[in-house]
């Protein structure tokens, strides 16, 4: 029972952090669904790495509040996404290489800027820029929760208003264009939501692992349903459960002598759900396929 006691559910800090990571998981899963079905899973990866220089430059410009740093990160992430699209659309360069190159260059610039800040700005170490790199869920406060919940609300309302258009653009962009739906505008809206989800999640799980929170819940949910509405809701639920479970697990496993990082634990939780879904889902699971083959030989 040591494990349950160490969960410390009555501790307000743990409550805040757990609620925060659950919210991040839900928002990431919900927004990520649309990236996954449009086969743009890697966009989140590019955005999250590219957000780093934005955060660092926002800090240089004098912003000390998380919200200011997040806006900086969002601008840089958006800029990186536009660069990737511009470079690959108008040249012989392959999309994946451009994405990888842009991601690494932005990350490198961010890293160099962050080191410069630590060197030249006195007291910068206290502002926890490092946590945008690796994520530090334990530093989340009520303000952060409000920001995440606010963004989640914006995402839900936006997608509900544009539901029909988003659905058509996701599954048949050519037909959507013929029908007079502003495809590029919808593309932009979805990209903006990905950027937003990445930057609100950054401080909890860090730039390297944020992309997993966008992709994994949707992939897991995809094994259970074929309908877009239930898919996005299920993905949000899976994300929330993974966020909560990961935080509680890492709190339970950590003690004075060692600390298990929260971000990676959340990622492992959500990946376990994916593996379980691929194996066990009744409709398309690998196990049920083996079973069907045995029972109904063709």
């Amino acid at each position: 029972m040591n494990l349950l006691q160490s969960l410390a559910l009555d501790d307000p800090t743990v409550q805040t952090v757990t609620a925060g990571t659950a919210l991040i998981g839900a928002v990431g899963g919900f927004v990520g669904t649309f990236a996954v079905i449009r086969r743009r899973s890697l966009e989140g990866d590019a955005v999250s790495h590219a957000a780093l220089p934005g955060v660092a430059i926002a800090f240089c410009l004098g912003s000390r509040l998380p919200i200011g740093l997040q806006i900086g990160g969002a601008i840089a992430g958006w800029f990186a996404l536009m660069t990737v699209n511009g470079l690959s659309r108008r040249s012989v360069l392959p999309f994946d290489a451009v994405l990888g190159g842009v991601l690494a260059v932005f990350f490198g610039i961010g890293l160099a800027t962050m080191r410069a800040i630590q060197q030249y700005v006195p007291g910068a170490a206290n502002h926890g820029l490092e946590r945008y790199l690796f994520g530090q869920a334990a530093t989340m406060r009520m303000d952060d929760l409000h920001a995440i919940a606010g963004f989640g609300l914006i995402a839900v309302v936006t997608l509900m208003l544009l539901w029909k258009q988003v659905k058509l653009v996701s599954f048949d962009p050519a037909y959507a264009t013929v029908q007079g739906i502003p495809t590029r505008f919808i593309d932009g809206v979805l990209a903006a939501l990905v950027v937003g989800a990445v930057v609100v999640g950054l401080q909890a799980v860090g730039v390297v692992l944020m992309s997993a929170l966008l992709v994994a819940p949707a992939v897991a949910a995809r094994q259970w349903t074929n309908r877009l509405g239930p898919l996005s809701i299920l993905a949000a639920g899976i994300g929330a459960i993974a966020g909560m479970a990961g935080t509680l697990l890492s709190t339970a496993l950590s003690d004075e002598t060692r600390s298990v990082s929260t971000g990676p634990t959340i990622v492992l939780c959500v990946t376990s759900i994916v593996v379980a879904s691929i194996l066990f889902s009744p409709r398309s699971g690998l196990l049920s396929q083996v079973f069907r083959r045995k029972v109904l030989p063709t």
Partner: protein, 375 residues
């Protein structure tokens, strides 16, 4: 062995140059085969491989570290390909699923067990070329330079030898995998040979630049080289040269401003790419704009010649070839028309005869050429 005038700064620069050169060669094939992101996933997972190998061998300089880590990189590729074959998810989702998971295990293990060794998460994630010169490579007591420099140089030479020895095979399987298979070139073996060498290079570069920035070295120099040439051999040479220049420039800048070296070099590579993107002689943005401008002007001259040709020998010829009212017939502005007439005369497509314009032999040829291209 090492001359006395070599300072740690020189050695650090040399290590970065070796990283750039060693990554640029396999990078060309990664870019052309559209496998950069698999390399990205692989480099992240190497963290797990290195940590596991370290925990097993318990020695940070052991050769087993290299073997174990390289194997884990190749394993990632196999895992991603296996997931794709289940048809449950697309390649992009498979990549963004496998690598964060294995990377997370690596981070957790390294924060738990390696907190105070030189393999802790910060250094492993970001690399530390700044300290590379401390780790010497010695043969029988003779100092041969920083370990990473020696290893990366061997890596570069090995990659170069591989690319030269299997140039034909690599070229064919990169550009036409189907034909390569039909001719019995075994693209699968080449694929895994390439993946193994990418994994090996990443492991060797890992200490210096870490798993994220190594991607800049794999992707950016070949991308810039791709804008400058269409030939594989030149692309290889250009991207190595580009990487070396970027490594030297970036390291110097980082020393001047006291910045993180690997990050600065990645930034400098990005800026250099931007210059190539704008200035490349054929594919650059300026060249594109200039070419479009030239084409527009040439097209107007051709249209003028076509107009004269169409009315040549007809009753309306005097009216249609009168220089003064030409803009009304062509439906251009007066200034445009005057400029086009001037250029066409200068290019010897048309000539003035009094107030009228008439086609020259060159102009007639241009018209014939144009009419021949029409269906």
């Amino acid at each position: 062995m090492i001359p006395a005038w070599v300072t740690p700064a020189h050695e650090t620069t040399a290590v970065m140059v070796a990283v750039g050169a060693a990554c640029a060669v396999p990078g060309v094939f990664l870019v052309l085969r559209k496998m950069v992101l698999i390399a990205d996933a692989m480099s992240h997972v190497l963290l797990l491989g290195i940590v596991l190998a370290y925990l097993l061998a318990n020695d940070a300089t052991s050769a087993w570290l290299y073997v174990g880590a390289t194997a884990s990189g190749v394993l990632t590729v196999a895992l991603v390909e296996m997931l794709q074959r289940t048809k449950r998810l697309k390649e992009d989702a498979a990549i963004s699923l496998v690598f964060p998971a294995l990377f997370s295990i690596g981070v957790i293990l390294s924060t738990l067990y390696l907190r105070n060794t030189h393999l802790d998460a910060d250094r492993v994630l970001l690399g530390s070329v700044e300290l590379a010169f401390l780790d010497r490579f010695t043969i029988q007591g003779i100092d041969c330079g920083p370990r990473s420099f020696v290893v990366l140089s061997i890596c570069f030479l090995g990659m170069l030898a591989f690319a030269i020895a299997f140039y034909k095979e690599l070229k064919l399987s990169t550009f036409d995998a189907g034909l390569a298979t039909t001719l019995g070139f075994a693209p699968a073996i080449l694929h895994y040979a390439l993946m193994t060498s990418v994994s090996l290079t990443t492991v060797a570069a890992f200490d210096a630049v870490g798993p994220v920035l190594v991607l800049a070295f794999f992707a950016v120099p070949p991308l810039a080289a791709r804008l400058l040439t269409n030939r594989l051999s030149r692309m290889l040479i250009f991207s190595v040269a580009f990487a070396i220049i970027g490594a030297i420039g970036g390291t110097q800048l980082a020393f001047q401003l006291d910045l993180n070296i690997a990050g600065t070099v990645a930034g400098v590579l990005g800026v250099m790419f931007a210059f190539v993107w704008v200035l490349a002689p054929e594919r650059g943005q300026i060249a594109n704009v200039w070419r479009e401008y030239q084409q527009r002007r040439r097209f107007r001259e051709t249209m003028l010649a076509m107009h004269l040709h169409r009315h040549e020998g007809t009753l309306s010829e005097p009216e249609e070839s009168l220089a003064a009212g030409l803009h009304l017939h062509l439906n251009w502005t007066e200034a445009e028309t005057a400029a086009t007439v001037e250029r066409a005369i200068r290019h010897n497509l048309i000539a003035r005869s009094g107030e009228f314009l008439r086609l020259t032999e060159t102009g007639r040829n241009r018209v014939a050429e144009m009419l021949n291209t029409l269906p």
